[in-house]
Amino acid sequence: MGEGQRELIPQSVTVTKIIDETPDVKTFYLALRDQGGRCSAPFHTLPGQLAMLSLPGVGEAMFSATDGGDHLQLSIKKVGRLTDELHEMAEGQQVGLRGPYGNGFPMTEMQGKNVLFIGGGIGLAPVRSVVRYCVDHRADYGKLHLVYGARTPADLIFLDDLTKHWPAVEDFTVSMTVDNGDDEWQGHVGFVPAYVEELRPEVANTVCVLCGPPIMIKFTLNVLRKLGFQPENIYTTLEMRMKCGIGKCGRCNIGHSYVCLDGPVYRLDQLHELPNEY
């Protein structure tokens, strides 16, 4: 884990690259840029960890970060005032950043196991940080299988990864589905939970990483249970409103657990211990 800036004051970082993923999702590359124009990551993150992005005068929000080596990647969907502003930004713009926050996925515990990734919509952003880690440390993990769904083909994010990079990785199956197809869509049409059930992924020695909208998570969990997954082998991430990121401002707690500090990654059996308030 990098040193980072976990106290409340952000550091200014530069948006070095912006990728249009879908009409309402963009991926921002954030880096510290020195005099010579060389970039370095503001801090390093574990898969699943968070970064607080700050737009002066507009506000701050927490996003799932993907470590890109010499930069951080934040994939952000337009949902409100702050994200609308972010989508208006141009490359070269400076913003504030602090982090890393949260626990991240237990990559060591997952070693030696098959990994089933399930993502829905923008939920692929945290999943992708785990996928990248597994791909980078390919020998440490067993078979990889990603099931990803979005509303329409136009809403599929990280298309390059989905169609080029990941299918080329050894023992990595990528299954995509959309809720509503279009004329050009040749792939599967249907909701993620049903697709997972249909695909009958391997259960033995497999951990599942599940991120997406609450409704998708709810139904997918039913399917996973039916397939025989134990709660100890399912990880998911939660989202709450956050302000401080260090477990002090009070608003992101679920029971005694602060999502910004003890989350956002929860194992399902841990989550079952907490009140149902998220």
Binding site: Q11, L82, R241, E277
Partner: protein, 337 residues
């Protein structure tokens, strides 16, 4: 024991105020609260407890954290360095000392510490005053406290007939006592300090933290929330409520200050996420959060009640939702299965 005569109190405060900001319970615009001592201040050491807790000394209602500017592509952030003078909180009661311990748990016990709080806390010396005549809403003894003294204070003042018994508990406390003694403000006494009268209210919180684990979905919360106004009076008066908001104080389109100000779990907007989802959408969820936090989550996380029995929320709730009733009623609720 050393004693400070009442007639010497002003001299003692003046002496200490020469080197530190000395917060004392005082009448300010009709309300008893802690205020920096000066000869002009109207001391009010009788209020049990002062209407406003000393929370604001360590966690100001509003404070600046950093200034930002954004011109064109460039963005800068510059910390606002708060000057923190040596601080003495004089006349703080056991309930509020305990509350500071709760705040320490939140702000200091886990990394990263809260820098601003840590700085202020490190500069602060607590001079606790025994509380012998409890107010009508006091129930600190029920929450495990001793109103006549608190172990975690730097100096403990005891009530004597015509003054205060002075007992240093830490090196920092010794220093204050030594300074007072040096100026001849202290005398030796053998008078035993006054004993605290029993608290007016008594409840038994034992085991309710465990019981609350089973009560998340209980209809009790609906009933409790039905008359709640969702105002922030309880949380803002509470000495242990620590929630805050970080928000922009915009000077113009380009510059401003990031401020931290108190926030309350009672407010609608508190947990609303971008896109509109609110994990605590109604009064019930918010009221439940408040009591669960005080009586279950906080004990689970930090091993102590987040209620010190000061009774401020009891005294000032517009609709008389009383935490003492909640403790009692939760204790009495029957759980199915």
């Amino acid at each position: 024991m050393k004693a400070l005569a009442k007639k010497n109190l002003a001299d003692a405060l003046a002496l200490l105020a020469g080197q530190a900001t000395v917060w004392v319970p005082a009448k300010v615009a009709g309300v008893t609260r802690f205020a920096p001592w000066s000869p002009a201040v109207t001391l009010d050491l009788e209020a049990t407890p002062p209407a406003v807790s000393p929370k604001e000394i360590l966690l100001p209602e509003t404070e600046s954290l950093y200034r930002y500017s954004a011109y064109g592509m460039d963005v800068t952030f510059e910390a606002v360095e708060q000057e923190v003078p040596p601080t003495i909180i004089w006349g703080i009661h056991s309930c509020d000392v305990q509350a500071i311990l709760c705040q320490d748990d939140v702000f200091l016990s886990r990394e990263p510490q809260d820098a601003a709080y840590a700085k202020r806390r490190a500069a602060t010396t607590l001079v606790a005053l025994a509380c012998t005549t409890p107010g009508p809403d006091c129930f600190c003894t029920s929450m495990g406290l001793e109103p006549a003294e608190h172990a975690s204070t730097d100096v403990q003042l005891h009530i004597l007939t015509d003054g205060y018994g002075v007992e240093a508990r830490t090196a920092r406390g010794e220093e204050i006592v030594a300074r007072l003694a040096e100026k001849g403000l202290l005398v030796e006494t053998i008078e035993p300090p006054a004993k605290a009268q029993a608290c007016t209210r008594a409840v038994n919180p034992e085991g309710i933290d465990k019981k609350l684990v089973e009560m998340f979905e209980h209809p009790y919360w609906d009933e409790l929330a039905a008359t709640c106004l969702n105002c922030g009076a309880c949380t803002f008066l509470c000495p242990t409520c620590h929630c805050f908001d970080l928000t922009d104080h915009r000077r113009n389109a380009h510059e401003g200050t990031k401020i931290r100000c108190w926030d309350a779990c009672m407010f609608t907007e508190y947990t609303v996420m971008a896109g509109g989802h609110n994990p605590r959408p109604g009064k019930k969820e918010r009221v439940r959060q408040r009591f669960m936090h005080k009586l279950r989550y906080f004990p689970e996380r930090y091993g102590k009640w987040q209620c010190t029995g000061c009774g401020r929320c009891v005294a000032r709730c517009p609709v008389h939702i009383e935490i003492t009733d909640v403790i009692k009623e939760v204790g009495e609720v029957t759980l199915d299965g």
